[in-house]
Symmetry: D2
Subunit: 344 residues, 4 copies
C-alpha cells in the first residue's frame, strides 16, 4: 500500500482527490491537513465521503508527512514551495496540484504570481505533469508540477498541430470556458450561485496566470516562441472546461487533421479523439479523467478549430495528479481512474 499525504484537504481538489483515492486499490490516505479544520473528520465536512474515510484533518506537520510515500499539495500557490525542500530532502515524492513549480522561468513566475519564489532550484528539478507530453520524465521524477486546468485542455488540443508545424505559431487563440469550481471553494461574492448562475462572462482578459503556462507548453511543442491570446470565461455550471482553439493552417492543402489527431493520441488512455464532425460536451467527462477532443476545419477555410473538453477537477487537477502518481509508482496508469462520466 502506498502511503499518501494530502496538504490542503478542504478545497475542491482536495475532496476530489479523496473521492478518487477512495476506490484506488493500492493506496491508503494516511494524512490530510487543514489548519482551519483541525480535528474535524473529513466525512463530517464532505458527507459524500461518509462510510469511505475515518480520517480527520490535522495541522500540516512535516514530520508526519515525511512518513508518507507521496504527498499531494492541493493548495493555493505559495504553500507547496514552503514545504517542498524539506520533504524532498527526506526522500518523499511530491505532486503539486498548484502552480509553484510549473513555470521554468522563475522571474516570469514571480511577476505573474506576485511572490518571491523560495526554492528556484526545485523549479528546475520539477517535472511538468502532463503525461501526454512528459510520461517518461514523470516516471523518474521526485517532484511533479501538475499541469493546470486550462493549460491541460488547451495544450492537448494544440499539441498535434504545433508538433508537426502545421499552423501559424504566432496567432493562436484559446477561447476557454470553465465551470465555477475552477474558482475554488473560498467564499467570494463572484462565485455565489446568485452571481454566477444564469450568466456568462469573460474574465482576466488583460492577463490570466495560465497564459504564461500555456505559452510555455506550446512553445516547447512548437520549438519556437508562440503568440497566444487566451480568454477565459466563467460558465454557469459546476465542473468542466471547454477549450475552443483557433489556429491558421500554413498550407491550405488538407494535412489529414482527423488522422493526425487520432495517431497522436492513439496510445493515450485518457485522450479520446472523437469522430470527424463531433462536438464534445463537457458533461461527457463529468467526474472522469478523460480529455475528449474533436478537430474541425469550418467551411474548408484555413482556420482550424479544435474543441477540447475536460473535467477541470479531474483531468484538470486531481485525476491528473493520480495519473501522475500511478506513473511515478509504476502502477497501471488508469488504476483508480476507470470512472465513467456522470451523464446525465
Amino acid at each position: 500500500m502506498i502511503k499518501v499525504g494530502i496538504v490542503g484537504g478542504t478545497g475542491f481538489t482536495g475532496v476530489e482527490l479523496l473521492r478518487i483515492l477512495a476506490n484506488h486499490p493500492q493506496v491508503r490516505v494516511e494524512v490530510i491537513t487543514s489548519r482551519s479544520e483541525e480535528g474535524i473528520r473529513v466525512a463530517d465536512m464532505f458527507p459524500n465521503l461518509r462510510g469511505h474515510y475515518d480520517l480527520a484533518f490535522t495541522v500540516p506537520d512535516v514530520e508526519r508527512l515525511a512518513q508518507c510515500d507521496v504527498v499531494f499539495f492541493a493548495t493555493p500557490h505559495g504553500v507547496a514551495m514552503s514545504m517542498a525542500p524539506e520533504l524532498v530532502a527526506r526522500g518523499v515524492r511530491l505532486i503539486d496540484l498548484g502552480a509553484d513549480f510549473r513555470i521554468k522561468d522563475v522571474p516570469l513566475w514571480e511577476k505573474w504570481y506576485k511572490l518571491e519564489h523560495t526554492c528556484p532550484d526545485l523549479v528546475e528539478k520539477a517535472v511538468y505533469g502532463l503525461p501526454e507530453v512528459n510520461r517518461e520524465a514523470i516516471a523518474g521524477a521526485q517532484l511533479v508540477a501538475c499541469a493546470g486546468c486550462y493549460p491541460t485542455a488547451a495544450q492537448l488540443g494544440f499539441l498535434p498541430l504545433l508538433e508537426k508545424g502545421l499552423v501559424d505559431h504566432r496567432r493562436l487563440i484559446a477561447d476557454c470556458k470553465s465551470g465555477v469550481s475552477g474558482a475554488g471553494r473560498g467564499a467570494s461574492v463572484g462565485s455565489l450561485l446568485c452571481e454566477a448562475s444564469e450568466s456568462m462572462k469573460a474574465y482576466g482578459v488583460p492577463g490570466h496566470r495560465h497564459l504564461p503556462e500555456i505559452r510555455q507548453g506550446l512553445t516547447l511543442a512548437a520549438g519556437r516562441q508562440v503568440g497566444l491570446t487566451f480568454v477565459p470565461h466563467l460558465t454557469p455550471m459546476i465542473r468542466g472546461i471547454h477549450a475552443t482553439l483557433y489556429s491558421v493552417l500554413k498550407d491550405p492543402v488538407d494535412p489529414g487533421l482527423q488522422q493526425l489527431f487520432e495517431e497522436r493520441f492513439a496510445n493515450e488512455p485518457f485522450v479520446d479523439v472523437m469522430p470527424a464532425g463531433s462536438h464534445p460536451e463537457t458533461r461527457s467527462v463529468k467526474g472522469s479523467n478523460v480529455c475528449r477532443i474533436s478537430v474541425h476545419r469550418p467551411q474548408q477555410d484555413d482556420t482550424v478549430v479544435v474543441l477540447s473538453v475536460i473535467d477541470n477537477l479531474v483531468k484538470g487537477a486531481s485525476g491528473q495528479a493520480v495519473q501522475v502518481m500511478n506513473i511515478m509508482f509504476g502502477l497501471a496508469e488508469d488504476e483508480g481512474l476507470k470512472i465513467v462520466g456522470l451523464m446525465p
Copy 2:
C-alpha cells in the same frame, strides 16, 4: 461472468445501468435493446461510455434475451409485462425498474396506470425490490419489481416509525422534491431547461402513480391501512430526491428517535443515518447508491420530520437494480456500487 441483458437502453435509467455495470467485475452486458436506435453503438449515443462499451443497440428479441442470466427492464410501464412471461418460462431472472409488478392489487394498478395487466399471476410471484425490507425474498426471487424513486426515499424514511407504531399512521405527509431526470429522457416541453430551470413547482397533487405504491409499502410496515398525502415537486436540478416526511408522535415522551433510526439501519450498506441535527443534501449522494437520512423533532413538538435523500437514478432506479442483482446472485451486496457521490 453473469450475462446481462437490458431492455430499453436509451433512457436515463438504461444509460445509468451501463455506467454502473461498466465497473462491475462480475457481469458482462451482452444485449441492450432499443427499437428506435437499432444498430447505433451505445457509446455513440452516450459519449461518456466511449472506451467502456463496444455494444450496439438491437431490436428486443426474446430469443437473444433468453440467453442472458438476468434481464433488466429500464422501460416505461407496460413493456416488461409484455415480455416477462416468456422470459420467466425460459428461466431467466428479471429485474424490472418500471412499475409493472410493484402493486399487488392488480385492479388498483390498472386504475392508476390506465392499462389492463396482461400477467397478473406474475404480479403475485414478483418480489418488491426494496432490499432494506425484502432482502431474503429478493435472494430467492426470479422476478423483482424494483421500488420506484419517490417510494424508496419515502419508505426508508417512514419505516422505523411505522414498524414500531410510534406515529399516527392515518396522517402521514410526504413532501417530495425531485430533479428533472425523474421525468425521463423523452422530449417534452415541460422538461426543457428553459421551462424547468430557475423554477419550482408541485405537480400531480390530485394524484400521482407513486401514491398507491408508497401507501402499499407503508401499510405493510404499519400493519394497517395508512393515510398518506403525497406531493411531488419538480426541482431545478438533474438528479436527486429530497423527501421531507411529516408524522405525529402518538406519545409525547421522546422515544429516542435518533437511536431508533441508527439501529434500524445499522446493518444496511446503503442507508446512512446522519448525526442528530443534520440536514442531508441530495448532492452528497449524486451518482451513489446511498440513502442518507436524518430525523428531527422541531421545537420538541409532537411532529416528527424525517429528511431522506437519494439519487433518483441510482438508489431510486439503476443502483437499486444492481443491488438487487447482487443479492439475487449471491454477490457482495455493494459490488460495483462503491461509487462515491460527486461533490461538488
Copy 3:
C-alpha cells in the same frame, strides 16, 4: 416627486428596490447608503443599473436621510432599530424590509434574533406590512415592518382557511422552498454555485427565525394560538419561494375551497388565485410582485394542500415594500409594479 432614501444598498433587496424604483414615475432615489462602498456609483457595482442611476453610495447619515420623504431599510436585523427612533422623530416615514419591527412580542424577538431590542416602543407603533391583511393600517402608518419572504408566501396561503376557521389550527405544516437569493449577497461557502446548485436540502429544521413571525400572523388570522411546523429548503435557483401548505379540514364536507380563495383575494391586485387543479410555478412570478396560489384537496381526503408562490425578492421583499409605500403615500397600489414575470 417622493424623495426616497435607501439604507443598505449593496444587498439583493437594495438593488432590487433600485430596479423597481427606476421605472416608478413618482419617486426619485436621493440617497443610497453603504459603509463599505462609499463613493462607488451604484451602476458600477450593479451594471444592470447603468443608464438608470447616476447615484453613488454614501455613508449612512441621519441628517441626509431625514430630508427624504421615506427611507427604506434593506439591511440585516439590528440596523433599522439603531436609526429608526431619530428618523421617526424627524417625521420621516420608514419602511423596514428587515426583521426589527415584525414581532410584537419583544422578548420573543430577542430570543430568536439573539439581540437586545433598543426601541421596543417603536415595535408597538410599527404596522406589519402585509397589505392583504393590514392595508388600512399601512395607509396611516409612519413605520412599517414589511412581512418576510417565507411569512408572505405562507400567510397568504393559509389566511382564507384560518380566517374562516375551516382547518385544525393546531396542526399546520409549511414546507417551503426558497431560491438561494434568500440567503443574501454575503460571501458564504453555503451559497456558492458549487455548493448550492444541483442539490436540495432542508435547513433550520430545529428552528428558523421566520417561525415566530408566521405563527404570529396565523394566530391573528385564526383568533387563537396556532401550532405550526415550518421546514425551509434551499432550492437550486436564484429567485422564488414555493410554499406547500398542509392543514386538516375540521369538517369533511367540502366548504367550497376554490370559491373561498377566489373571494378572499378578489380585490387584491397582487394575489392571483389560479383555476382549480393548477400548479403555480415560481418562474411565473420571477421579477413580479404577484403571489400566485392554488388550493387542492388530494384524493378528496380531509387534507387541504395550498400551493403559494412568490418572488422572494419582490413580493417577498422589495416589491412589497414599494406596494407599502404606494399605500402610505396614497398612490395607485400597483404604481411601478406592473412588471410582468420573466418567462422563460
Copy 4:
C-alpha cells in the same frame, strides 16, 4: 393605439413580445395566432401573463391580420414569406423576427435554409432590422427583417473596427455562447434540462445559418468581403448571448479603441460601452434591450478582443423588434423598453 398582430405566439419570442408590449403605452395586441393552440387564452399557456392579457390564440388568418397596423412574425423560417406578400399588398407593416428576409443573396439563403424562397422581390424590398446600422431605412420601411441573435451581438461588436478599417477583415473570429432559449421552445432532447444543464458544448462548427448573415453585415461595414470563423456554443442558462470577438489590428500603434467604441455608440439608446478593462456579464442585460460591450487589447498585443453581451430574446429578438416598431411608427425609440435587467 397601434393595432398589433403576432403570428406564432407560442414560442419564446412570441411570449417575450407579449411581455414587452404589455407595458407599452401605445399599442394594443389585437391578434395572436397559433395553429396548435387555437382557442387557448395566452395567459393560460403562459401564466406570467395572467392579469395582463385576455386574448386567446386564433388560427392565422390574413383577413384579420390585415386589420392590424403592424404584424410581427415570431415564427420559424418559411412562415413569414408565405403570408408577407398579401399583407404587404394590403399595406400592413411587417416585422419578421425570423430569417426569411435577412439575406439579400437569395440563392445563398436557399442553400443555407434548404428551402425555395417564394417572394424574392420582397427580400430586395426588406430592410435589415439592426437600428444601429439602418435606423433611417427602418423608419421608412414597410417590411423589416430583424437581425438574428448571434448576428446582433457579433455585428455590434465588430462594427466600429470594420467601419474604420482598423483590423484585418480576412481573419475575424466570433466565438459565441448562447443560452438554451436560442434553441426555441420546441420539445427536443438536446434542450432538456438534463441534457443541456451542467454542460458546455460547441455546435454547428462546420456551418451555422447565422454565418452568412453575420458575414453579410460585416462585409457591408468593411466595404469588402470579410473572412469569418463563427463558432456558436450552447451554454447552460436560459437567456443571454456572450460574443467574444477576435480580430487583428493592421497597425500596432494604438488607435484609441476605447474612445472609438464610445463615440460610435454615443447616441445609441441600447448600446452601452463599458469602461476600459470591463467584462460585461450576460445577466446585466437579462430581460433588457441593452447590448453591453467592452473592448480589450490583451498584453498590448495586436489582437483586439471585443466582448459583447445581449439577451438573445430581447435585443436579439423581441426587444429589437419593438425598437424597430417604435422607429417605424415615429415613437420614442425606447418606448416600452426601459426595462432594467433582472439581477440577480
